[in-house]
Amino acid sequence: MKQKILIAFIISALLIPFTRIYGQQDKPARDKFTLLTMPYNQRQLLLYRGQLQVNAGYRLAVKGKSYDSEGEKISLKAEGTASIMHTYLMELKYGITDFIEIGADSYFLKNGIRSPSATYLSGSNVISTNSLNEYKGMGDITLSAALRLPMDYKIFDFSLRGGITLPVAAYKPSQPTHTITEYTTPNNYTVNYHFNNNNGNGVPLYFISGAAKVSLTKISLEARGGYRFPAREGESIRWSWTLYGSTFTYYSNPYSYLPDRSLFMNGSVHYQAAGWFDLFLTGYYKNTSSGWTEYYDIKYANPETSLFTLEPGFELQISPSLTIYQYAGFQITGKNTDAPFYLLTTISFNMFPFWK
């Protein structure tokens, strides 16, 4: 009998390694590693409680074409007025709970737009002009808060976000820095007009947006829409100048303006190719309207603009705390607006600073 019990015990012991015991299970493990490596198709729209996300991005945009009021393409390259836009993006987000997130973002932008060069011939006078509009500086800071449905994400998620763009960046154009070059005689020289613009809005802007997400195994669909509008009218300055000899004297004149209201919508299809790799295609539409600018005491409506962009891209998780996003923006159609092709690379750093 003893021997039989011993044999039975040993056989049972041999079987244990090949047996998986399924007991009553609690909620899936909620550890930092699991949350930081959550694939897109299993991830909720907002950050998790205690998650801090720092995003740093660089966008290279080539303004090679624009659309006129009829939606016809204009080649800025052929005109020689194409330009390069460098944008450095910064964003900080924090998940207060699994359903509430706060964030702040801003950017630094550089862009120099040339106008066609001109030469004026009059008697023995030969005066050439070059013109450059430079935009350089920080943008305003946007503060936002977002809420999502108070339930665990499985298939469907929905969130609302609202915020304000604070007019903290310089917005009035700085004094121009025109120069005279190739001066041979008082009647023969080149004037280089150089206008120095800043990137601030000058007035607060409010925004509200909504987002929804549906995940069906490896395929996910996401839609976002939002509306941004100014809090009030603003006042800025325009520079004029006189040229005496080779010295410029500058004068500024005030004018008032109302920034455009903007409507934006996007829809994207995501394919989770691997746990660490998500491919997506986004369609992005933006429309601006209702703004005006004052010229000589008369308010002129800003032209209504629209632009539709297709944006293929990917999300690639390098390590639990580091993720890279890359997008390319192809402009498909639009009206009254520049249509820059762009490449955007963002590095996202994620952590749970207060979770040991």
Partner: protein
């Protein structure tokens, strides 16, 4: 008791013993080494094929005071190339590289001429495009101090550039409307020495190079009727890089480099307005190694420079496969 002993021995069957073993590298593993872990030359018999795609704009330059300024006049310029390349390891220490670029340069613009006294306005356009095969580049790499157990190596690289690209402007329709050359019009050679040390997951390199251009002749201005003799200034470059693995198959390289160009001679004389320029650049590559397939994205950022040195960033994409 015997039965108990048999049963006890039976229990040992499912147990797999893990001892200390040394991983044996097979050729397929060697072909999957990353930019951080691979030796400075290809292994014997390995063939690597791929292409480099490079894109840059002509927007800014460093002036004589070292300030980054915009090109003064109206215009838009881009410079891009697609360069297929073949690399082959003749021995474990000796490698050859052949690259031939397809160049696509573009300059466009408009100008307006006002003559109020004649009641005339003239609109003109600038269209200078250069498309075609560029200069063939061959390189030979040799590990002078081979990479051994110390994981450090010293490699010499000799480049030879053969002027296979068109050297003169063609299809000249006017001073601002022609096809620009896609080649330099002269032979040149460069000697480069690179020291490399691997401390996994990092690697460090330091390098120094000198490029000598032989004299040549070509049409320098589309309005010229005959070719002019020229001799490009010598080029000196030096730099260092720090490279690391972000994970097992993604590497990040960081290269800080200095380049100096000497003055160019025209008709065996250095013109009064000739400048010797220099630039300091930072180049970073994000390299994805998917088995034998390698994709790299890189950006070269010009940090400082002087005397009309280019100041715009350059974007590079590299795709390679090791056979």
């Amino acid at each position: 008791m015997k039965k108990i002993a048999y049963i006890f021995l039976t229990t040992l069957v499912p147990i797999i013993g893990y001892g200390q073993t040394e991983k044996v590298l097979v050729p397929s593993d060697l072909k999957q080494l990353t930019v951080v872990t691979e030796p400075s030359t290809l292994y014997k018999g390995f063939l690597r094929a791929g292409f480099d795609l490079s894109y840059g704009v002509i927007d800014k330059y460093f002036d004589t005071k070292g300030k980054r300024v915009f090109m003064p006049s109206n215009g838009w310029g881009t410079s891009s190339s697609l360069s297929p390349s073949l690399q082959y390891g003749i021995t474990n220490r000796f490698q050859v590289i052949v690259t031939i670029p397809y160049v696509n340069d573009l300059q466009q613009g408009q100008y307006i001429l006002y003559a109020p006294s004649a009641d005339t306005t003239v609109n003109g356009s600038i269209s200078v495009k250069g498309k075609g095969i560029g200069d063939l580049n061959t390189a030979f790499k040799y590990q002078i101090i081979p990479e051994g157990a110390s994981k450090s190596s010293l490699t010499a690289r000799v480049y030879l550039t053969i002027p296979t690209g068109e050297k003169n402007p063609t299809d000249i329709k006017g001073p601002y409307n022609f096809k620009s050359p896609t080649g330099n019009g002269c032979f040149s050679t460069e000697l480069n020495l690179t020291y490399r040390k691997i401390i996994y997951p990092y690697s460090y390199t330091g390098y120094i190079g000198y490029d000598y251009s032989f004299s040549g002749s070509k049409i320098l201005d589309p309005s010229d009727t005959k070719e002019t003799e020229f001799n490009y200034g010598d080029r000196f470059n030096a730099g260092a890089s720090f490279n690391l693995h972000l994970n097992e198959w993604i590497a990040l390289t960081n290269d800080l480099n200095f380049t100096h160009w000497g003055k160019t001679k025209i008709d065996n004389e250095i013109p009064d307005n000739a400048l010797s320029k220099w630039v300091i650049g930072y180049e970073t590559h994000l390299v994805f190694q998917i088995k034998r397939f390698r994709v790299a994205e890189a950006v070269l950022i010009r940090l400082a420079g002087k005397n009309e040195a280019p100041a715009d960033p350059q974007y590079i994409m590299i795709v390679q496969y090791t056979f």
